[in-house]
């Protein structure tokens, strides 16, 4: 129970305290990142479906290529997010004279992605709900496709449902940050205050960015 996923979510301090006694292992964190990537790929697939429908029939091949490409990018995105978060936390923790390997940082960062799995699932459901009823008109010119793409962005940023999805992802991100704080505390041997700053600064900036995007200031 000390190493269970529920422990990560509800009692990360206890979990990482126990986990730090073992050698760092990236298998489970990589699996979590893989699941995140898969969920992201599903969302990308839904979006790519709409995008492909915009294209004229003679550009069907390009559409298929777009679907494959966007799905692959989203899939890899899960891993990228894991690694980027890990590197940022590791670098910031250096300021607070953190001690511990990068692998350990990546390990705790990966565990912290578990709430993102739930957030990703809910976000994908919202995306499907938002886009499944969208009727895409037949478009023949690049101007029409550009106009529709612009409209699609508008829908995804201003629709109340999209805004709800955004708030949900922020909530899960805060939950992840909470896990990362405890993870960094033990992975880099930081005080609770330093661990909070290590995680809170980048995540806080990102959350502010998300909120500003949701409100529509950007």
């Amino acid at each position: 129970m000390e190493t269970g996923f529920l422990q990560v979510l509800l009692n990360p301090a206890r979990f990482f305290e126990a986990r730090i006694r073992d050698e760092p292992s990236l298998k489970v964190p990589a699996l979590i990142a893989l699941i995140c990537g898969l969920i992201g790929a599903v969302s990308a697939l839904i979006m790519a479906d709409v995008t492909t429908a915009m294209l004229p029939a003679e550009m069907g091949g390009l559409g298929t290529l777009m679907v494959v490409f966007s799905t692959a990018v989203a899939f890899v995105g899960g891993f990228l997010a894991w690694i980027i978060y890990g590197f940022i936390f590791h670098i910031i923790s250096m300021v607070f004279k953190g001690q511990g390997s990068l692998n350990r940082t990546l390990e705790v960062t990966g565990y912290g992605l578990i709430p993102q799995v739930f957030g990703g699932i809910i976000g994908s459901i919202f995306s499907y709900y938002l886009l499944s009823g969208l009727t895409v008109p037949a478009m023949s010119s690049a101007e029409e496709i550009a106009a529709f793409s612009e409209y699609l962005v508008t829908v995804l940023t201003t629709d109340p449902l999209a805004q709800v999805a955004g708030i949900v992802s922020i909530l899960f991100l805060i939950w992840s940050a909470n896990i990362w704080i405890f993870g960094m505390k033990y992975a880099r041997n930081l005080s609770t205050r330093d661990a909070t700053l290590t995680v809170g600064i980048p995540v806080g900036i990102y959350v502010i960015y998300l909120i500003i995007t949701l409100i529509g200031w950007l």
């Binding site: 979510l9 509800l10 009692n11 990360p12 301090a13 206890r14 709430p115 809910i122 919202f126 709900y129 938002l130 499944s132 009823g133 969208l134 009727t135 895409v136 008109p137 478009m139 029409e144 106009a147 529709f148 409209y151 508008t154 829908v155 629709d159 109340p160 449902l161 709800v164 999805a165 708030i167 949900v168 909530l171 899960f172 805060i174 939950w175 909470n178 896990i179 405890f182 609770t192």
Partner: protein, 382 residues
Amino acid sequence: MAVKMKDLKFLVLALCAALALVSPITAAPADITVVSSSLDPQVMMSGDTGTLTIVIQNNGAEPVAIQSARLYGKGVVPTTDPYLSVGEIGGGNTKTFTFTIRADGGEGTFYPTFVLDFREGGSLRHPVAIQVEDTPLSISMVEKPDAFSEGRTAGITVMVGNPRPNAASGVQVVPEGTGFSVTPTTGFIGGLEPDASGSVTFNLAPETETDVTFRVVWRNGINTHTTDLVLPVTFGEDKKRANPVITNVEVTPITGGYRIVGDVMNAGLESARSVMITPGSPAVPIDPFRVYVVGTLDPDDISSFEVTFRADAGVDEVPLFVEYRDDDGNLYTSTTPVGLGSTVMTPVKEGGSGGFPVLGVVLVILIALGVAGAIYHSWKRT
């Protein structure tokens, strides 16, 4: 033969003596004169019935015995019997004879003869001039709209003139026909002296394209005559009517539909009242602007408007209905098609009306509570 001549002389003398004894105070017929004659109506029309009144006077001092009084002639004929037993007319007295006559001979001046037969022989013949003229009253349209519209009340003024040499009485104008309503139902002008005219105004509201007959009814004496003026009522575009024009249209997608904003301008010459703008089928109006009430638009006035609606997939054009009324309250509708172009409406959420996603908010609250609980739990155990 000599005896016979003698007897004859005796007979003549006896006869003269007898005549001298029988009528010693009788005046001569030459004392009787026609002093006046009058006709009602003064000028007849073909087929009219009139009344001819003749007055005679005995200018002598002694009475004159009249056997009969008659009227005869061609073109104008009496329809009543002659006076067969008139009697005496005293010295200085007058006597009136009335005949009912009918004009049977067409137009012109006729001279029926009035004849008095005296009892003691001889007669008085007096031709009476009677004028027959068929010129009717004239009717003309003084004012009417450039074009009629269904249900729209139009003012129509009719003028009636009297070109006849005598007066017409009881002149009235009656609109006749079907497919319209009119007030007043009859326009009364009354008597019209020669060369005089009178006008009457009708408010006509046609329901269909039809012919409206304005019938002028008048009396010449006791004879009723009519004259018609036909007004064809055909629907057309009123040159002065209000003309709301929609411009500067901008279509934007909103949640569950589209929003159209634009300007409406009155390019006509009359005010458009109670102007309302609403999207028509296949569009379905939705809140918040199912219909936009502009109100009154005077000529050259402009107002902005906004309507919201939803439309099925594949609809690339929707009509915008502009409803307005004229000063009489008649309703008009004009339609302006608006293309949706490549704009696409945001899908409507199931279970909602395109408004705020209540279910999503509930979900956010639940997740927020869950996350807060998890975070609180994790720090509590620290």
